[in-house]
């Protein structure tokens, strides 16, 4: 396909061809199947780009509305019997907490996920290249917009399912958005693999359990982090506190 032809396609789409030029262009469209296909492909691509760029801000507004609706139909988690039980437990927990805070000091606060959730920034963009999706993922993750990060990383993984770094950050973003069960299934193959992210994935597996308050599982995940791992020290510290 030569450059002149693309220029002609563009001129035709802009309605700039006149007189003889226009006639000969349309004659070719009718009689030359290869030319017709080439033009249609070009026009399809142009239309798709045009529409997605022009509607990008409307899409954002629509997503904002949809975000407010996403939990509208969420089934309530407990029947009334359970919630009474729950209140009792909450009462017990509250009084225990009160007792502790009266008699003992800060040290005994149970470790929380938030204290340990400090992530290395995601740096996927190779300098000098621009990849919209990877930049968007990086931007979202590093600015703690994990909902968007999940979406962007999922897109990236759709094209490169083997990219372990993206898998790891997908896992972290899922933990951040409370999709812990899914996160663990993403992290599991990394922990048993041979990549440099192996121990980091193990650490995040533990944090996933910590966040969902499965402390025994958290402990056993931490115990699997070997002394040569860079996460070893914080793993030991967290183990001590548990």
């Amino acid at each position: 396909m030569n450059e002149e032809q693309y220029i002609a396609f563009d001129a035709y789409l802009q309605g700039e061809l006149k007189g003889e030029e226009l006639q000969s262009f349309e004659h070719k469209l009718l009689n030359d199947a290869g030319f017709k296909t080439a033009f249609q492909d070009y026009a399809d691509v142009e239309q798709s780009l045009k529409s997605s760029i022009e509607h990008a801000s409307k899409e954002k507004e629509l997503r904002a509305t949809l975000n407010t609706l996403r939990n509208q139909e969420k089934p309530s988690e407990n029947s009334s019997v359970f919630s009474i039980k729950r209140y009792v437990w909450m009462g017990v927990a509250a009084s225990v907490l009160l007792l502790f805070s009266v008699y003992i000091f800060n040290d005994v606060d149970p470790p929380s996920y938030a204290e340990y959730a400090m992530h290395q920034p995601l740096e996927v963009g190779v300098r000098g290249t621009t990849n919209t999706s990877s930049n968007a993922a990086e931007e979202a993750f590093n600015s703690k917009d994990y909902q968007t990060a999940v979406h962007e990383l999922r897109l990236l993984l759709g094209t490169s399912p083997e990219n372990v770094e993206w898998q790891l950050y997908y896992g972290i973003s899922l933990i951040e958005t409370d999709r812990i069960a899914t996160a663990l299934t993403i992290l599991e193959p990394i922990t048993s693999g041979a990549s440099v992210y192996k121990h980091t994935a193990q650490w995040y597996t533990a944090l996933g359990y910590l966040k969902s308050e499965k402390l025994e599982w958290c402990k056993s995940a931490l115990e699997k982090i070997p002394s040569e791992a860079s996460e070893f020290e914080k793993a030991q510290e967290l183990l001590d506190r548990l």
Partner: protein, 192 residues
């Protein structure tokens, strides 16, 4: 002549970002999708992601291609979400759990509409993906061309002549067309 179904109001609600009608859409049509995904290796949030992405796809198909709904929204929407979820499961390397759907009677028309939407999505995703493979100059000029809507402004913004901006834009779209065609052919080969 295709006749517009009364449920086309949901498509219009997406175009107009009408929160009241969209809330009705969520109430009527999403619980089924949530139940399906929850029974099939997913959770509530997965289902909500799939629902949102499906609605955004339908929105784009509507504004770009003038999608006209000629069948009930219910089965059409369910099919779109279901297929998207099965693709997602494949990406995650998980197997589909097979069981009977709640929707038992699906007409040919509903299947065809859902397939149209999924095909539209596939094509747009491919174009977006290949767009990221273009050089940064090409990406820049294409974005500017459609955002500014005037090639004079584009030329000014990028500090090039009008003639060069025009030529470059058509070349870049041409290059993208080629990338998309090659990738589509490649995919077809893989599917055989």
């Amino acid at each position: 002549m295709a006749v517009k179904h009364s449920d086309h109001k949901y498509i219009e609600a997406l175009i107009q970002n009408n929160a009241r009608v969209l809330s009705e859409l969520y109430r009527k049509f999403t619980p089924k999708v949530v139940r399906y995904i929850s029974k099939n290796n997913g959770d509530y949030d997965d289902a909500q992601d799939i629902i949102q992405e499906s609605l955004v796809t339908i929105y784009h198909q509507a504004v770009e291609k003038g999608l006209l709904l000629t069948c009930p929204f219910d089965a059409y929407f369910f099919l779109v979400c279901k297929r998207k979820w099965l693709n997602e499961l494949r990406k995650r390397g998980r197997k589909e759990v097979t069981f009977l759907d709640e929707i038992t009677s699906i007409s040919k028309e509903e299947i065809a509409m859902a397939e149209d939407t999924l095909l539209y999505e596939q094509k747009s995703e491919l174009i977006d993906l290949m767009f990221t493979q273009l050089g940064s100059k090409c990406q820049e000029i294409i974005k500017a061309a459609f955002a500014l809507k005037s090639m004079e402004k584009v030329a000014k913004q990028l500090g090039v002549t009008y003639g060069y901006a025009r030529k470059k834009k058509s070349q870049c779209i041409g290059q993208l067309t080629k990338l998309v065609r090659n990738a589509a052919e490649f995919d077809q080969l893989k599917n055989d």
